[in-house]
């Protein structure tokens, strides 16, 4: 396969990847990391870089349902992760903006969260450990398969959300959660006169004890993007045991005109209501510059992606 920047590198394992990074460094070449290719244009354009495909790092390495943890290759898609875990009534609720054709590696590398992040955790909360090759061709094995770990300095946190500018993520260890036994989604409607009352009622609901999995407020444009008319003001997703879901349902009904929604609506929310990419406004403060310089001194990984002059 040939792509702009030359033929695509497809290392078969971490040793090959480390050799590739060493070689690129010696040749003064640069590498553009690619998983499924879903966020290649997210930030700033990356020019004059050789494509590096992670397709060899794909699939589930270890899943022990009783531990509620899973280890996957970086190029494993979110759909694959979901299929494997759902078979055990579990999930990894990353649920990032976009869709499930994206990879786990990209979700973690960009720390992309989604509409359920506040309640179910952000990528930064759900990643237990990573394996990676950094810009100095060192193979890093940080964190692990246990849910609590404070051994050593936290490379996992440093690499999560670094957009592949410090290291190439090859493998991720993730925390899983049990799927809630029951789940319902509701769309709340109000006419213009009732908007304020609904907003106040939903604020009180959100502050109350029945913590929902997600509340997404809708404006005219976002309601339209999801195929609702302008009277749709909010989407609410609740999950828990039967008594919890029933109580949530009755409280939402008391908030206003609550109508049941198809759970598939959340895929539409993720696909159509994504906010602007954070990569466009990267904070290049003194420490950011230093961490980039120390882990990738030649700036050979994803050069320019975060606005760092290549």
């Amino acid at each position: 396969m040939t792509a702009p920047g030359g033929p695509t590198h497809t290392p078969a394992g971490t040793a090959e990847l480390a050799a590739l990074v060493r070689d690129a460094s010696a040749r003064r070449a640069r590498l553009r990391i690619r998983g499924a290719g879903t966020w290649m244009d997210a930030g700033h354009p990356v020019r004059d870089a050789e494509p590096l495909s992670l397709e060899a790092f794909r699939g589930v390495d270890a899943h022990t349902p009783g531990d509620l943890t899973i280890s996957v290759g970086a190029a494993t898609t979110l759909a694959e992760l979901d299929e494997v875990t759902r078979a055990h009534r579990q999930w990894c609720p990353l649920l990032p903006w976009g869709d499930d054709t994206g990879t786990v590696g990209a979700t973690v590398a960009t720390a992309t969260d989604g509409p359920c992040a506040a309640a179910l955790g952000r990528p930064r909360d759900l990643v237990l450990g990573v394996e990676a090759v950094d810009g100095r061709a060192r193979t890093l094995v940080a964190g692990g398969r246990v849910v609590k770990n404070v051994a050593g300095f936290d490379l996992t946190r440093a690499l999560t959300g670094s957009w592949g500018t410090l290291a190439v993520l090859t493998r991720l260890h993730l925390r899983l959660r049990a799927l809630p036994p029951g789940e319902e989604s509701w769309v709340l409607h109000a006419d213009d006169a009732g908007v304020e009352r609904l907003r106040a009622a939903l604020d009180a609901f959100a502050r109350g004890p029945l913590a929902p999995m997600a509340i997404v407020r809708l404006g005219a444009a976002s309601a339209g993007a999801l195929g609702f008319d302008g009277s749709a003001r909010a989407l609410v997703r609740v999950g828990g045991n039967a008594a919890f879901v029933a109580e949530s349902r009755s409280r939402l009904a008391a908030c206003g005109d609550a109508r049941p929604a198809d759970p598939a609506i959340w895929n539409a929310v993720r696909a159509r209501l994504a906010p602007e990419d954070r990569a466009r406004r990267w904070d290049w403060n003194a420490l950011s510059l230093r961490i980039r310089e120390r882990f990738d001194p030649a700036r050979l990984l994803n050069p320019g992606l975060l606005g760092d002059a290549a």
Binding site: R145, V146, V147, K148, A178, N285, R294
Partner: protein, 503 residues
Amino acid sequence: MPLASGPPSSFRRLRDAPSFPRVNPDAPALAATLARIVGARHVLTRASSLLVYRSDGLPGLERQPALAVFPGSREELVAVMRALAEAEAPFVARGAGTGLSGGALADGVTLLGLHRLKRIIAVDAEARTATVEPGVVNASLSRAVAPHGLHYAPDPSSQTACTIGGNIAENAGGPHCLKYGVTLNHVVRATVVLPDGTLTTLDRGDEGGYDLLGAFVGSEGCFGVVVDVTVRLTRDPERVITLLADFTSVRAAADATSRIVAAGILPAALELMDQATIEAVESSIYAAGYPRDAAAVLLIEVDGAAAGLEDDARAVEAECRGAGAREVRIAHDAAERARLWQGRKKAFGAMGRVAPHLAVQDAVVPRTRLADLLDEIRRIGERHGVRVCNVFHAGDGNLHPNIPYDANDPDASRRVHGAMREIMTRCIAEGGTITGEHGVGLDKLPYMDALFTADTLDAMCTLRDVFDPSRRANPGKVVPVRACREWHAAPAARALAREAVAR
């Protein structure tokens, strides 16, 4: 925003990297400088007055600081840090000294005590955050925000004494971290002063940036010192149900843990205490009414919305009985609940009755390996002739095998350390880690090579160098010095390096 141009920094490669700078260059002169900042009575230099700072919460490790300084305000703290930088003096930050890994010990260097910085600067009940100074005691923060129906969720057993600053340094946990997460999950933003004296604000990078706060939390005082921190507050649960399940074998209790988790229930806490621990607690003033003839008890708490909570409690009870529980008791009121918890939280203290010293351990294994591993720990204890007391966060797989002993008996010490080494080796072999919440400090340094590859340890040194290239902050802790392959020399360190090479 272009990146600063220029060639990549050069690295000096030294076969025998010098040790971290260890000795204050000129202690009396430094003490005088610091006294001008904080006042003479907040600087200690006499060996006798420094005695109390020779150890932390972990018995058996002692180091003598050269001097101690206690700033009383944010301005004083920053000025002290700049004076230390000016003097190129290594230092160790310390909160309440309750740590359990020897992390806050200063070996011949300056000890920077932060307990006077105990202001709660702001509470935003609407946004559910509080901004506090590092010396605020964990439990006082929860007490201060209680009128708003809020609390600070991380609850280490030392919470009535330990400070928020120390919690951040260690990324502290606690029983309720099973549901609510560890310290890192509750920190929003921090103003820190770096070892070179620079003031900077760290966050999680959610608005577009590296997760520098995530790297800082848990760095054991090696990256800098917190000036103030904004933490998330948690709403008090509408209802809490606390259960005590009693088992005739440790294995059955561990199995119950797996069954509860597998059933999809996320308790707020799920703690296991074995017979040796029950005996120690029940013989102490902290007696909680645990059944003395049980091989193990589980202390389980479910909390949250009242709706559906009793169903969760019933499911927990059913899983316990399914695993062979003899009895499952539910705390009737707040007083009974507090009593059950006091026994757990004071268990380490209660072990003080058994012997003068206590070897404290903190390892994590995958939950499904708990039952086998507890059997193995018992066998290891028997082989070495020591009594292991297990009291730990079973829901997280976070073990605390503790051994009461007399450190003045060399034979006992040898056997205790032999048993501990074997336990840790076993945990690592099971895919576990050497610390879940206490930190590496000095105590766990010997295990770092077994847990991490040379490349990974080297990268940890790189991460430290981002924040503290001079390596003056808490020298000699967390990562073995020899693991830092490349000595990225700052001027002070470079001078030392040259001397080391010359010698």
